[in-house]
Symmetry: C2
Subunit: 467 residues, 2 copies
């Protein structure tokens, strides 16, 4: 989707007038303690929605540096760029916090049918997979419909390249085939594991993602094939013997030096109490990591940029953390937890965006009922951007370790994720799939939640009147 600035501004002002499909919240319906937040919220929404800045910044990031796999020069160059931009934005305490990250490289890779007739298969090696010998692995194909058949046909599977061909239903039901097939297939003697891509039907589009080896089992190469190719291999195998050659130059190199990106709006009264907003800055090495999770980085970053631009400095500190190595190591998440262990008890709230910055719907939240009550009131301010639902559970992979260690209230931005798993971990994860106005809405929603929670007289979840 392309956006002319003019059409956008006219749309944005039209929406400001019309209130976007939700009735405007009048001050009378707000709890008394929230009324004073109406004005800064309106300014945050106005500043976000009257510009395509977030989309353009994401386009600049992803157009220029492309994908940002942990250990790659592009990730480090993009981190330097982001730190420079944050200083230009006037954010406080901008810094990289050192993290040693997983350094996996894909290398050249291919999968060919050798017989009954030579042809090429659309595939992507799975992240963290071992490679094949240089000349590849040649073996017969065995296709199974799941782990039960993998076990029951183990005599045939031994020595084969096995395709675990499970149709996608939803991500959380099928991602386990991607993460565990290599270990399970290796254990029954397969020489390589293929999985049907975990994602919505695409256009011959393989989806990568991490695979995990159990420490006590064999490590065999693992790759995803496109939905079309999985079906084709299954039909070929049903007609007769199929022989494949898999070549994967994948390698796990020694850990590499990288950084979590941190920047703040320092609190004016209680700078040691902290509201964290964040996302992950690394991506897979296909596409440009715009949806997963460049967009999340930009909209959480926008929350701070907008506060700074509008000179809104809350009582507590709002801290932006852009984590590294979420995709294939989670080292950024663990490093943040460990490096900030002593101040985790001062973390009032942690909020992550890692499900795409499509049209916002609201936030998931995990925390005490009192904190939820407060957030549901704050959400009244988000009706203008359509983000006023507070769902039953919040969190995210990057804030997860800190949240778990210190029982920190946790939120996640929720959006229209209907197409998220069409693009997820594919070459099609590019900025054009995101809409500038929806990104602006996401940024405004994150900014308002972060600002109000950081500015409340009492700490989130504490009774009003307490400090």
């Amino acid at each position: 989707v392309q956006h002319s600035r003019r059409a956008f501004l006219s749309l944005a002002s039209g929406l400001a007038l019309s209130g976007i499909a939700r009735p405007a919240t009048s001050s009378e319906t707000l709890p008394a303690w929230l009324v004073s937040y109406r004005e800064p919220s309106s300014r945050l929404i106005g500043a976000a929605l009257s510009d395509t800045f977030a989309w353009r910044r994401l386009a600049e990031l992803t157009d220029t540096f492309g994908p940002r796999l942990s250990g790659s020069p592009a990730l480090e160059d993009a981190i330097r760029w982001a730190l420079r931009q944050m200083r230009t934005d006037g954010l406080d305490h901008v810094r990289g916090e050192p993290v040693m990250v997983t350094h996996w490289v894909r290398g050249e890779e291919s999968l060919d049918v050798l017989s009954p007739y030579p042809s090429r298969v659309a595939m992507l090696g799975l992240g963290n997979s071992v490679g094949t010998p240089r000349e590849g692995i040649e073996a017969p194909l065995v296709v199974v419909s799941g782990f039960e058949e993998l076990e029951s046909r183990r005599a045939e599977v031994a020595g084969s390249i096995v395709l675990i061909n499970v149709p996608y239903t939803d991500y959380f039901s099928t991602v386990g085939y991607r993460t565990t097939s290599a270990s399970r297939a290796g254990r029954v003697g397969a020489v390589a594991a293929l999985v049907r891509s975990v994602g919505l039907d695409g256009l011959r589009t393989p989806h990568t993602g991490v695979t995990t080896y159990q420490s006590d089992g064999p490590r065999i190469p693992a790759a995803a094939v496109s939905v079309e190719d999985a079906s084709r291999l299954a039909r070929l195998a049903a007609r007769g013997p199929v022989r494949l050659r898999l070549v994967m130059g994948a390698q796990m190199l020694p850990d590499a030096q990288s950084s979590n990106i941190v920047a703040e709006i320092s609190g004016r009264e209680k700078p040691d109490e902290i509201v964290v907003v964040g996302a992950h800055f690394d991506s897979w090495d296909v596409g440009t990591g715009a949806i997963d999770d460049g967009g999340g980085c930009i909209v959480t970053w926008e929350a701070l940029r907008l506060m700074r631009a509008l000179n809104l400095r809350p009582r507590r500190t709002v801290r932006l953390v852009l984590f590294v190595n979420e995709e294939n190591g989670l080292r950024g998440a663990l490093a943040y937890r460990d490096q900030h262990k002593s101040e985790l008890s001062n973390h009032v709230l942690m909020l992550e965006s890692d499900s795409g910055v499509f049209r916002p719907r609201g936030f998931g939240f995990t925390g005490t009922p009192d904190a939820r009550d407060t957030l549901e009131s704050i959400a009244l301010l988000l009706s203008h951007v359509g983000a006023d639902r507070i769902g039953p559970s919040g969190g995210g992979p990057d804030i997860g370790p800190s949240v778990a260690m210190a029982q920190i209230p946790a939120m996640s931005l929720e959006t229209d994720e209907s197409k998220y798993f069409l693009y997820h971990h594919t070459a099609a994860d590019t900025v054009d799939k995101l809409d500038a106005l929806d990104m602006a809405r996401c940024a405004a929603a994150v900014a308002i939640v972060a600002y109000v929670v950081a500015d409340l007289p009492q700490r989130l979840g504490q009774p009003a009147g307490t400090q």
Copy 2:
């Protein structure tokens, strides 16, 4: 889409009972001369719709041999397979008719952004393009919005790799950018031409297709980039200078020996009068050429197979012609015209399927009003398969030269083409995009038209009572 045979049969029989969304045509509403065709038409529909044979045959062809580019061993092997299958089907006069075809090969190819920051672009060289030197072509990028800007910025374009970045509206309005950009850009001094893919928005999916050099101009390499990459290159160029390297190993080799595939149901009374049904057997070298045009080949072939299986032998000959080299030479079409010149005046009708075998709608027809009247009556028999519309114009690239030479009445199968240009000339042109029941409907529709026209007492377009 996967089809279990059982679900399919139950669906097909349900549809036979319900008459699919169109009222059943009772014999009373048919013209008297058509009534006797009701019974064979019902048998053709019944035989087609009670089986997934057409889809399975297309799957076997495309799964096994993959794409069938002119000059490739896969095309010749697939031709031999088809000839064997046709003999097994019991068709008459099965033969290959020799054709010398264009022999273009793609070779290795890539397009990289060198600066402002290195990254890879999703591209496909255009068919019949010249290659680059082995080390590629390095040049600055110039992006233009059309041919007018190409001319007005010729000073900048000279020495550049130019991207002609015209958004897709519909195929016939935009395909000219693909076919002529290389010549036009070469004429103003560009060293290579890129076009925005001519097709619906995909998933980082470049669309190949033929480009044509004017005989008196320079020949520069030409490639299509995905819609996403075209937009990205345009944004990069708007931000500052961009330098690219294009590598294309494309080569035009000497013409290769190939064949049109011909098979018949010989007419029982007038075997010298001929109804041709056909499609093109070659494809581009990406995807597996299932939609363009393997499906057309199978459904026209099915028309003959079904007649033979049901022992329906019309008065005239029904001839299947599967043309080669439609995509990048049209040599099969020209060879058929030239080799059959003496009998073109005996061609009663030529029918081509080259727009995908999705749910059928009917046929386009070009011919005399009398012939149209007859076909509109015959179409009454097609209401059960939803193919009873006779549209204003028929024809096709393969039958075109013969039709033009001898003013032969011309038909084209028309289907729901809404997704045709999503898959067209891409890696996603695979059999799973086609539905077995829709293919069966297409086959039945082609079979009925071919059978009735071939069997009418009078020649199509002649008054009843004449012979």
